[in-house]
Symmetry: C2
């Protein structure tokens, strides 16, 4: 399995405080050491960094830390390989162009099967279940809509396509086109929104502390989405199984509650570290 | 205008000696300072680094230098903006997935017009002539071949599509799918192949010296393609205008000689530094 990290904001924000805790789970506080990736939207463009080394010690991750890139939308992933070798082509997040926008996707879970697209417009480059599922989703979206549809049409279609994919297994994912971010929970996904009044937070993985008052302005809104909470003194919302949350400008704009029993319990409910 | 750098090898090779000279042209020895990008194929995957800062001083370029990534195929680009703002989405090289492979493209030149694809299967994300031309080429290829064709079919199609695009202006480009690399020359493009017996080389831009005997094995073959030569004591082949050269495993495998008068002389023949 793997872990996911997403950030959606209404102001360009530096993700380093969260990423520094998250990357420790790739070899220090947990075992998700089979490569990592992080994608930063910048305007319509994306900076994407990948390595097949463990994020906690990767020089590419050190570079990301030092550069303090500010972004409205970030998706990161630390990998514990289940399907596919440890190499760059199997490293999340995956990216495709759809209607002239970058679409960025990362997955946590394991899919035993993936539906065949009616017309494969996108093909996986590596050999993970995750990239195949993303290509299925992108192909289906492009077949349904020759031009970019409205946000509500997109959300509705993504829900329908997800319901097809989730029949094959566990499918926690974060997806963004740089305008909004969608999180879907099969087993484990948590989020919180930081806004005024700001306080302090202490990281779980190394006790690093931040006072957001030193960094944020009054109107700032920053949502963090992650497999398991990254801080010990903030209130994280655990997503329901089968649920979707849609974020834009740092806030939840829509939600679909989960239905019990819809998803497959693969034994990863609750934080179980690698043995 | 911009400058291009490509490398195609039969053994994973570190491009830092060439890149360190090349990146000086982005702000020190020349003015191509409007961002840079470099893509390294690694297996079927690609590591791609971009910055909207000048390559000579970019911390992302420093990171690339320090990491000494070895690759069979590398494409890099330093930008002097002609069309489109200085931002990440307008930064070469551009990348698209075609038949389950990464296709990486960088362009030097200026196109006044680009043909409309019969069916736009790929759309530009930014607003450069370069990305539009690449999307036209990728759309045309995907329309002609529902599955990946043979190498010779591909080369023939790329030549035909290039002949359409070049009607619109100057179109020097380097393109790779990780298996081979194609260079097309409208005005300026040079290459050389390093193989045994290896010698020394001195960079033009900062007099840095390397002895390839210290780095290469007997059977190694490394081709470097670049807008203007990077070393002063090696014999570079200047490509003919309108010509194509196809490289694989570090060597020229096919060539189409240019025809005089086929390309547009936009005044950049011969190395003219920015004023």
């Amino acid at each position: 399995m793997c872990q996911l990290l997403g950030m959606n904001c209404n102001t360009p924000t530096d993700i380093v405080f969260s990423f520094e805790g998250f990357r420790r789970r790739a070899g220090l506080t947990d075992c998700h050491s089979d490569g990592f990736g992080i994608a930063f939207f910048e305007g319509k463009g994306v900076r994407i960094f990948r390595d097949n080394q463990a994020a906690h010690s990767s020089p590419i991750a050190d570079c990301v830390k030092q550069y303090h890139i500010k972004s409205f939308n970030v998706i990161a992933h630390i990998r514990k390989a289940t399907q596919g070798e440890v190499n760059i082509e199997n490293t999340h997040p995956f990216i495709r162009e759809l209607w002239g926008q970058n679409w960025v996707f990362a997955h946590n879970g394991n899919l035993q099967s993936i539906p065949l697209p009616r017309n494969a417009l996108f093909y996986p480059i590596g050999d993970t279940d995750s990239e195949s599922a993303f290509c299925y989703m992108a192909s289906e979206l492009k077949m349904r809509f020759t031009q970019k549809p409205t946000k509500s049409e997109l959300f509705e279609a993504i829900k329908e396509i997800t319901h097809e994919i989730v029949k094959g297994g566990t499918f926690n994912f974060i997806l963004s086109n740089g305008e909004w971010m969608i999180a879907h929970c099969s087993t484990n996904l948590h989020y919180l929104t930081r806004k005024a009044p700001f306080g302090k937070a202490q990281r779980i993985d190394d006790d690093g502390v931040i006072d957001f008052n030193d960094h944020a302005k009054a109107g700032d809104k920053v949502t963090i989405i992650t497999t398991f909470p990254l801080t010990k003194d903030e209130v994280w919302t655990k997503m329901e199984r089968g649920g979707f949350v849609f974020f834009q400008q740092g806030e939840k704009i829509d939600e679909v509650l989960g239905k019990k029993g819809e998803s497959i319990d693969d034994g990863t409910l609750g934080y179980q570290k690698c043995a």
